[in-house]
């Protein structure tokens, strides 16, 4: 039988941006399954399995805070960086505080954006390990390793709550019955982002291989599900469930 792991996570801030409100960001009241998966993966992960989030408990009611920050509009191009490394092109800085008068375009430089983040969030995340085919026999070892690492506070990168700058602290919950109940908060969220990738596919597994050809194969496949927080609990359906609506279809346009 697959054992479930429970992590309590908290931090000063969190922002799980709603995709439909992602430019002037507004956070979901709780982590998306993919954000919760990221927390577990930061502590322990191997390409031989994936994390299945089953439930998210809100331990405190969502408390929003408005943050307005200067951000940049453009990204550094990967191909340009390669050229700089080879020395075939001159390095062009990404100006973090420039406006149109300096860059000559509205597409570069600084812009002020609002973030409606969550203040002092605290959650309990429930998940279990699902081994990929051929790795089922290792499940016990995976579970033991995760428990050992989480108990000791080990992680290969600091987990975060939605955005890298909002770092998360964690502790392994060993006796769920002795823990406080989730808060009394209910909300119909509507369709919520489930994951950006199909975590079951080899395509997703390829993210963790250092083979450049595999990196190119990685295509996002956004999936969503109907989410409702009931008395502080968000039940997450398994990725294979019909409740998770996937979009993997590619349409050729008839010209």
């Amino acid at each position: 039988m697959n054992s479930s792991h429970i992590l309590e996570v908290w931090g000063d801030f969190a922002c799980f941006s709603r995709p439909e409100l992602a430019v002037e960001r507004y956070s979901y009241p709780c982590p998306t399954p993919s954000a919760a998966r990221g927390v577990f993966e930061a502590i322990y992960f191997k390409p031989q399995f994936y994390w299945q989030i089953t439930r998210i408990d809100l331990l405190s009611s969502p408390n929003y805070i408005a943050l307005r920050r200067n951000e940049v509009k453009d990204k550094i191009s990967e191909s340009a960086v390669k050229k700089w490394i080879k020395g075939t092109a001159a390095v062009e800085p990404l100006l973090a505080d420039a406006d149109k008068s300096i860059t000559g375009t509205d597409q570069k430089g600084r812009t002020q954006r609002q973030t409606m983040a969550l203040k002092t969030p605290r959650y309990r995340l429930h998940a279990h390990i699902v081994p990929r085919p051929g790795n089922e026999s290792e499940l016990h070892a995976y579970n033991s390793q995760f428990t050992r690492r989480a108990t000791q506070g080990k992680c290969f990168q600091q987990p975060y709550l939605g955005c890298r700058e909002f770092i998360a602290f964690f502790r392994l919950v060993e006796n769920a019955d002795a823990e406080p109940k989730s808060c009394d908060y209910s909300q119909d969220i509507g369709f919520m982002l489930y994951d950006v990738f199909d975590i079951r596919s080899n395509n997703y597994e390829a993210r963790f291989k250092r083979d450049s050809d595999n990196w190119k194969q990685i295509k996002p496949a956004v999936s969503i599900f109907k989410a409702r927080i009931e008395r502080g609990v968000l039940e997450v359906p398994p990725v294979g469930s019909d409740k998770v609506l996937k979009s993997t279809l590619t349409v050729e346009r008839n010209d």
């Binding site: 995709p19 439909e20 409100l21 992602a22 430019v23 002037e24 507004y26 929003y64 805070i65 408005a66 951000e71 940049v72 509009k73 453009d74 990204k75 597409q107 812009t111 002020q112 954006r113 609002q114 409606m116 909300q187 119909d188 509507g190 369709f191 982002l193 950006v196 996002p220 956004v222 999936s223 969503i224 109907k226 609506l245 996937k246 979009s247 279809l249 590619t250 349409v251 050729e252 346009r253 010209d255």
Partner: protein
């Protein structure tokens, strides 16, 4: 939250088909069936100068990218410079091209609506155009005023945009624009993605429709979008534009239409934000507790289909009182089962503002109608405070006055504070934030030191803070002689000392309050002992027997109740109690003396 807007659009039967939009039209140009112009144009505003004209629910509409890609103007309804080439100065080449485009569309549509062909020919006739322009100039029409066309043969004019005869032609025309746009696109492939609102597999809309009506809160006059991904840094995983937040064109249209509808009809401007609220079912106007109670924040809304605007109207006290009693009556009716129909009703509230063409969502609230009414009732009950002359209990604080309680002027209120206080008003278990109370206390201190009685709204807010903050003694609206908190008693002593000095010496300019209130409200132990000694030596001996005895007994009573020395320093909560004690003790004095100086008694 957007799915609740969709539900609202469905319930209100808003025209949410892409290519159609509700628009106000100011001028109606009439023609005979033969295409002859009938003077004069009809003003659809009915003489109301603030009106933008009559609202037509299903007008043809093209988005900006569609207009650019097709080179077309709007069909049937457009501004007068496009329709009849009415310009302030001589028409430029660009003006002529836009006019030609408008007339050209009429000509194209004449295949489906033959009556448009003679009108199109008339609008191409320079002589007639000059006559129309002269007539419009006489009527003081502006080039930017909107206009449409109608055919009239003696009786009621047949306004084309009011009928559905052109709808199919228009759908076909728009479809052709989309196809041509797609075929011109370099992208041959598109990803079918799940729509975040419908859950269907759809081709995401690349851009979104504009939300209008936020220009007074940081938005643009031409409108703002909920999300746009034109800047590279805001896209993800090589998605292009709308693919980053996949929503179908129909759903985008629906929720923006709903939001535009709500902004016009159910929105309240507070400081630099606009609060939009609605219910899950129709609520009678007299039961709309939010509208009535928060109207004081500067109501700026439409009353429905008319263009009358009650801008910046301040509600009368009667209106606010009535709203308060409505909340109580509704609550009783829901609890006693008389209004079971309201039990399942939900309310929703969005707080919005604009930022460089984008809509900022600052807050989202939803809850049951019963909770809402209960919270509003509790809100006014918590804010109740005795008036400075001690004669009345004031609980009719306008929301704007409460916001202004934390700053010198209402315009200084930061946008996040509006959402915060709004949440406190609609959720009775929510405490007033410490930061807000710190600012409020600062203003109270300034009021007192400047020899002005603090505004009742400020003290009301302090009382609500005490009631809602765990661990702070709950305050009553009037002086509570049973409270033995040293901070509260210190405030009372301060008020008594000020009264003693005033009775003994009259107006001395900078009295004990002006000189010592700020210090006493933070470090009473350092100040109060000295002030009491001064009163005993210099002030009380000057009073006559009865009055002297009264003040001495009052001071002794309060001092005995303290049971210890005054506190050395006061925390924020204790400073609040100090201010409450001072204010309430002073109100008792005002009540007993019967009248206050003119400057203090006026609100």
């Amino acid at each position: 939250m957007l799915h609740e807007l969709l539900e609202y659009a469905r319930r209100e039967n808003l025209a949410s088909e892409p290519g159609f939009k509700s628009k106000p039209v100011k001028w109606l140009l009439q023609f005979t069936p033969d295409g002859n112009w009938i003077a004069p144009p009809i003003d659809l505003t009915d003489g109301d100068k603030r009106s933008k004209g009559r609202e037509f629910n299903r007008c043809p509409d093209l988005t900006q990218p569609e207009m650019i890609s097709s080179g077309s103007r709007h069909f049937l309804a457009d501004s007068l410079d496009k329709v009849v080439l009415l310009t302030k100065e001589e028409a430029t080449e660009k003006d002529c091209a836009a006019h030609a485009s408008f007339v050209g569309l009429l000509d194209k549509a004449s295949s489906a609506i033959p009556e448009l062909a003679p009108i199109s020919a008339t609008l191409n006739n320079e002589e007639i155009l000059t006559a129309i322009q002269a007539n419009l100039n006489d009527l003081k029409a502006k080039p930017t005023d909107s206009a449409t066309i109608a055919v009239s043969c003696g009786h009621k004019p047949h306004i084309f945009i009011d009928s559905d005869e052109w709808h199919n032609w228009w759908r076909g025309f728009r479809g052709a624009i989309s196809q041509s746009k797609a075929s011109n696109s370099a992208r041959k492939k598109t990803i079918a993605m799940r729509c975040y609102l419908s859950g269907e597999l759809v081709e995401p809309a690349a851009t979104q429709n504009k939300v209008t009506g936020l220009s007074d809160v940081g938005g643009q006059a031409t409108g703002d979008v909920i999300s746009s991904f034109d800047k590279e840094a805001f896209g993800h995983f090589e998605f292009e534009q709308g693919q980053n937040a996949a929503i179908s064109e129909e759903m985008v249209k629906s929720f923006t239409d709903a939001l535009n509808h709500l902004i016009k009809r159910r929105s309240i401007r507070m400081a630099e934000t606009r609060i939009v609220y609605w219910y899950s079912r129709d609520i009678a106007a007299e039961e709309d507790v939010v509208r009535d109670i928060f109207a004081g924040a500067g109501l700026d809304e439409d009353d429905g289909n008319s263009a009358k605007r009650s801008t910046k109207s301040e509600p009368s006290e009667r209106q606010i009182l009535q709203a308060e009693s409505t909340a109580r009556k509704l609550l009783e009716a829901i609890r006693s089962g008389q209004r079971d129909d309201l039990k399942g009703c939900q309310f929703f509230a969005l707080t919005l503002s604009g930022n460089s063409g984008r809509v900022i969502i600052r807050d989202w609230m939803q809850g049951s109608f019963e909770q809402l009414v209960e919270s509003i009732d509790a809100w006014f009950s918590d804010l109740a405070i005795v008036s400075r002359d001690g004669k009345n209990i004031l609980n009719r604080h306008k929301f704007a006055a409460l916001l202004a309680a934390t700053v010198r002027d209402l315009k200084d209120v930061p946008s996040p504070a509006v959402a915060t206080l709004w949440r406190c008003a609609l959720n009775k278990s929510r405490s007033i934030p410490d930061s807000m109370i710190a600012q409020c206390l600062h203003r109270v201190r300034i009021d007192i030191v400047q020899d002005q009685s603090p505004r009742a709204a400020r003290i009301g807010l302090l009382r609500a803070f005490c009631i809602r903050k765990p661990g702070v003694p709950a305050m009553t609206a009037e002086l509570d002689e049973t409270v033995d908190d040293p901070a509260y008693l210190s405030g009372r002593i301060m008020a008594l000392l000020a009264a003693v000095q005033e009775a003994a010496l009259g107006n001395v300019g900078a009295g004990v309050v002006q000189r010592y209130y700020a210090a006493a409200s933070a470090t009473p132990a350092l100040v109060l002992g000295r002030l009491v000694r001064t009163a005993q030596i210099a002030h009380l001996p000057k009073l006559e027997g009865g009055l002297r005895h009264y003040f001495e007994s009052q001071l002794t009573d309060v001092w005995n109740r303290m049971k210890s020395t005054p506190p050395t320093t006061l925390s924020l909560e204790k400073q609040t109690l100090f201010a409450m004690g001072y204010y309430q003790q002073k109100a008792v004095r005002g009540k007993r003396s019967g009248n206050l100086p003119e400057s203090e008694s006026s609100e």
